[in-house]
């Protein structure tokens, strides 16, 4: 929440790691004159008077989670009073340097054999002349602009031009930095497995999209619907970025990133009643390290045993 003081212009971002819900702009019409936000066209700002934001033709109806806004107070200065915008973080406060974005999409990543991709403010494709966001999802490109990474509605795609699938590769994922077939990602990954029944859709590969509480935030690669993060005490799997508050469906893990998610007692979370799952390093299949004769692993994350010595040569 943000208590908005008696100043004319305010900038800010909707959503914190504690909570986020969309907040009606019309409900704040007595305090706010006009709101500005970036259009996905990338070439203009959408401007919306709060007093008409209940119109079917309004371009901005709510302060929406994960969006930035500028707005100005309504009425004469003498009439201004302090008011609250739930889940809003003001972006023009003194001494605010500890307030940073936990991104839900990566800022940059490298795909093996393709190159390093960077988040953009929209497409800048010399072929089409277009400069815009695409499918209301972030668009990425290499520094030399030779390759773009964009969402086609069901998968991220790497190709030379946004919207053109010629010579493209897909990762069948909601996030851009999941592996593209055999082409590996530079991003950290984990694999979650073992959920059953209605919880099975939380199984699968998770890839790094940001940081929270000093550790990597992982997001379910295929759907983007689940987040695995460190709460400060334990690792947590949740369906609500990036919190267990507000009716989130979640299950607690341990103090290490790899380990067990355990709600077998049905009491440490919501929705995952009676469920357990395992979290493992997503870069390798642990079974590949097992010997033929026993289940013990030849290597661990902390220690690599030398299997062939000089004497054996």
């Amino acid at each position: 929440m943000a208590n908005i003081n008696k100043i004319n212009g305010i900038s800010g971002f909707q959503g914190t790691d504690v909570s986020c819900e969309n907040v009606s702009l019309y409900g704040l019409r007595n305090y706010i004159d006009k709101v500005f936000a970036t259009s996905t066209s990338g070439s203009s700002y959408s401007v919306q008077p709060a007093s008409s934001s209940n119109s079917p033709f309004a371009t901005i109806k709510n302060f929406e989670c994960g969006n930035g806004y500028i707005f100005f107070r309504s009425g004469a200065e003498s009439s201004w009073s302090v008011f609250n915008i739930p889940h809003f973080e003001q972006g023009n406060l003194e001494n605010n340097s500890n307030k940073l974005v936990t991104t839900l999409f990566p800022e940059h990543f490298t795909i093996e054999g393709k190159g390093e991709f960077h988040l953009t403010s929209g497409v800048n494709d010399p072929g089409s002349g277009s400069k815009a966001w695409y499918q209301t999802m972030p668009v990425y490109k290499t520094l030399d602009s030779s390759l773009k990474c964009w969402f086609n509605g069901s998968s991220y795609v790497i190709s030379s031009r946004v919207g053109n699938t010629s010579s493209s590769v897909l990762n069948n994922s909601f996030i851009p930095n999941a592996p593209y077939g055999d082409a590996k990602t530079s991003s950290a990954t984990v694999e979650i497995s073992g959920f059953t029944g209605g919880s099975a859709n939380a199984n699968g590969l998770y890839a790094e999209v940001g940081y929270v509480n000093g550790k990597i935030l992982y997001r379910h690669a295929k759907t983007g619907d689940f987040y695995y993060f460190f709460s400060g005490q334990t690792w947590v799997l949740t369906d609500t970025p990036i919190t267990v508050n507000g009716g989130a469906c979640y299950v607690n893990g341990g103090s290490d990133v790899n380990g067990k998610l355990d709600n077998s007692g049905g009491s440490n979370g919501n929705c995952f009643d009676g469920q357990t799952a395992n979290v493992s390093d997503g870069s390798m299949d642990p079974r590949s390290l097992a010997t033929e004769d026993e289940d013990s692993l030849m290597s661990t994350e902390d220690k690599l045993k030398v299997l062939i010595t000089e004497d054996d040569m």
Binding site: T16, G42, N92, L100, L104, L119, S121
Partner: protein
């Protein structure tokens, strides 16, 4: 890094990551003028003509919108009156934890590490300590 490719961009400066957030000096990055009035190229390598196509706006804590651009640098960076020099100094860096809106009409991409652009309908993240 984020690449600013569009002519309008509104976003938050400062990302949680493996490195600490550091403020970015705009005149050091995009250029300024010396006391003789000569353009001093910035770390970005943009020419004077290119750098003149950038305006980076902020909302000051007082509630007033304020720009940084080369015109401000040219007029006020080395002004003999100290109070006028403050006009450019009150907003000449991107600070962690602040919102900025950028107007850029050049053809190249602006590289601004740590800037998270936003757009209507795109859920880019959450603010956290």
């Amino acid at each position: 890094m984020a690449l600013i490719t569009t002519s309008k961009s509104l976003g938050w400066y400062g990302v949680h990551g493996s490195d600490d957030c550091e403020p970015m000096s705009l005149h050091e990055h995009f250029g300024t003028y010396n006391s003789s009035g000569s353009f001093q190229i910035g770390k970005s390598g943009l020419s004077e003509t290119e750098a003149k196509l950038i305006s980076i706006w902020t909302m000051l804590p007082t509630g007033s919108a304020w720009p940084w651009n080369l015109n401000m640098e040219q007029k006020y960076r080395n002004h003999p009156i100290s109070s006028l020099r403050e006009l450019v100094k009150q907003h000449d860096e991107m600070k962690c934890g602040q919102m900025y809106w950028i107007t850029w009409t050049g053809n190249k991409d602006l590289n601004i590490p740590g800037f998270v652009p936003t757009a209507l309908g795109v859920d880019m993240g959450r603010i956290s300590d």
